[in-house]
């Protein structure tokens, strides 16, 4: 049985008009990502990485070509339809967490469900608590965002990305702001989610991370330069254990 394609890009192009010049940020990108894959998308700045992420996240639409998210064509969708699609199908994890200030962990995680009428307040809270437990923050439910460390905040953000049970989790440099140890902790979490069958796309410029994912796509000048499956996935948990013990001061 063939696996279901969660993401399908068909010759996606995206042009920007900068003054009188047309910048071709994506010059015909095609690939499929199947359910349960953990894909890293790499590239230097200017490679079209961010533009591709915006396309995948339904924050932007292609100039030409088609993007199918979970089988749904996105290109001709209106803004509000894409908002709904993001709400149901995508979980975002950002580099700088983007938690709401002065707001508790649970409330932050509840946020996507606030825009989903199918959840009432009790169901919302239950789902948020479950997501926080899944990222190991079951004991930090009522902590406010300014009372948490970077790693904890990023885990809250991951819980927020999980809470709507999305078709795909999109992480944008999700370890970029974290120290090595915390980065590995977050990677452990992503590998755990991968093992549970989640589809994860991790956009990064850090080549190390590719070793922990199942597939690596490299972009350059708006085109796919490399697309390889990783047959030797390293364990982030082992790497974490191999790190020198944290120094308490």
């Amino acid at each position: 049985m063939e696996k279901k394609a969660v993401i399908e890009l068909q010759d996606v192009r995206r042009d920007f008009q900068v003054g009188s010049e047309t910048v071709h940020a994506l010059r015909g990108v095609s690939f499929k990502i199947y359910e349960g894959e953990f894909v890293t998308i790499m590239g230097t700045s200017g490679s079209g990485k961010s533009t591709l992420l915006n396309q995948l996240g339904c924050l932007d639409t292609p100039t030409s070509g088609e993007y199918l998210l979970d089988g749904i064509p996105v290109r001709s969708m209106r803004r509000s339809q894409r908002a709904r699609l993001r709400n149901r199908k995508i979980g975002f994890v950002f580099q700088n967490y983007n938690l709401l200030a002065k707001t508790t962990a649970v409330e932050n995680v509840e946020l996507p469900l606030m825009y989903n009428k199918e959840y009432n307040s009790r169901q919302r809270r239950e789902a948020a608590v479950a997501a926080l437990q899944a990222v190991g923050l079951g004991d930090r439910l009522e902590h406010k965002s300014n009372q948490m460390s970077g790693g904890q905040m990023q885990r809250v953000a991951i819980a927020r990305a999980l809470v709507n049970n999305p078709a795909v989790i999109l992480a944008d440099e999700a370890t970029g702001n974290l120290d090595t140890r915390t980065s590995f902790e977050v990677l452990v979490l992503f590998q755990k989610l991968h093992a549970e069958g989640r589809t994860i796309i991790f956009v990064t410029h850090n080549p190390e991370i590719a070793q922990y994912s199942s597939r690596n796509i490299v972009l350059r000048d708006g085109k796919v330069r490399e697309d390889v499956y990783n047959n030797n996935i390293l364990s982030a948990a082992e790497a974490l254990a191999a790190l020198p013990a944290p120094q308490d001061d």
Partner: protein, 406 residues
């Protein structure tokens, strides 16, 4: 997103910026307070004017010379001299719905007693006058029909005249004062009425037989007006109709000619005064309402700042699935909440000012219930009106740029 959640977000946003929110509410508080107190003063004045007029008897009718040309220009001075003795006598003899009649001739001048003097107005009337006005003689008696016939130089005086001319507490009855050099013997003192709403001293009067005033003081053969009393208030209109017929006949007016006199009932008086007060109130309220406009602009300003400050939050909300409508509702509800809270505090502030008006200055002011409702409605309108532009600005943000905004 549900409105309950939007409301919670708005409350949180307002509370997290207490000082700023209060300052932007302050404009609304002052504006609504001013509107409320202006309306209260208008309403209070209207009520006290009505009471004032009612004190003079609700069935009083006033006949004045000249056509009814409110606000127009009367060109012919002879038109002001149309009320004559024949009118009075015919009314006395024929008018069906009229109980009491008094011609009225007035003249102002100086009253002197001994070394004291005061400026006063002398009303020439018939003895019916005090009964029409429901005005009692406190000491002594009123002059009589006999005095009218003889043009006797007698008078009744108001309390202010007594106070000015007899400062040492002498008994004024029987004393002779001079008004415009003509001696008048005081036969009675009127009960004090105090000041009316216009600030006029109603006790600064000298009432004398109209015949005396016409001959000795005014040297005129026409009346300034004729006042009469309808049998009952309900019969006022019938009385006016009857009097009109009589006066048109005595004035020999042909069909198609306009009346050269005007008959007004107390009701009409009240209506005129009410509409005048309404106009004044509207002017005051409009002036106060301008401060609400300024307050609205203040709210718009603070909402624009709030949108800019929360660009990143807006970007996040959009990326997790908020539609433009959700975002614009969020900011609209926040601005409505600021303005409505300001409105509630403003109504309380207006209530306080109104209370101060009554208790401290002693000016009658009554808050009409509808003005409170209107204030709340206006506040919601301000919240929507001035919150719309910032809310739209927020809703139109590009989530990609918004989430990267620093």
């Amino acid at each position: 997103m549900s409105y309950i959640n939007l409301f919670k977000i708005a409350v949180k946003a307002i509370l997290s910026n207490k000082g700023r929110s209060f300052l932007s509410m302050l404009g609304i508080i002052i504006g609504v307070g001013a509107v409320i107190v202006m309306m209260a003063i208008g309403q209070g004045s209207k009520q006290s004017i009505r009471e004032e007029i009612q004190k003079n008897g609700t069935n009083m009718l006033t006949i004045r010379p000249g056509a009814d040309m409110r606000g127009g220009v009367r060109l012919d001075p002879s038109a002001m001299q149309t009320l004559k003795q024949v009118d009075y006598e015919t009314i006395l003899a024929e008018a069906k719905f009229v109980r009491m009649v008094s011609p009225e001739v007035t003249t102002s001048g100086q009253a002197v007693f001994g070394s004291n003097n005061t400026t006063s107005t002398c009303y020439g009337e018939s003895p019916d006058y005090l009964r029409i006005k429901i005005w009692d003689v406190e000491e002594g008696v009123c002059f009589t029909e006999e005095d009218v016939k003889k043009s006797a130089k007698v008078c009744v005086v108001g309390a202010t005249v007594v106070k000015e001319l007899f400062p040492n507490g002498q008994d004024p009855i029987g004393k002779t004062i001079r008004f415009k050099s003509i001696p008048f013997r005081i036969v009675g003192v009127l009960k004090s009425k105090g000041y009316n709403t216009w600030g006029m001293d109603q006790d600064n009067v000298i009432v004398a037989p109209y015949t005396t005033v016409m001959k000795r003081l005014a040297a005129q053969t026409h009346y300034n007006s004729i006042i009469c009393s309808a049998v009952t208030e309900e019969l006022s209109d019938a009385a006016i109709e009857d009097l009109t017929t009589i006066l048109r006949r005595t004035h020999k007016l042909k069909d198609g000619e306009v009346d050269n006199f005007t008959i007004r009932s107390q009701q009409e008086w009240m209506d005129t005064m009410s509409s005048t007060m309404d106009t004044i109130t509207i002017i005051l309220v409009v002036a106060a309402a301008f401060s609400l406009l300024v307050a609205g602009i203040g709210i718009m300003n603070i909402m624009l700042v709030s949108v800019t400050e929360r660009t990143k939050e807006i970007g996040l909300r959009m990326s997790v699935g908020a539609r433009g409508l959700d975002i614009s509702n969020q900011f609209l509800i926040e601005s409505i909440l600021i303005s409505l809270t300001g409105g509630i505090l403003g109504v309380l502030f207006g209530g306080l000012l109104t209370w101060g008006c009554n208790a401290i200055i002693g000016y009658p002011a009554v808050i009409p219930a509808w003005s409170v409702i209107v204030s709340f409605a206006v506040c919601v309108a301000i919240g929507v009106g001035f919150g719309y532009f910032p809310a739209q600005k927020a809703a139109r943000l590009d989530p990609i740029e918004a989430i990267r905004y620093e």
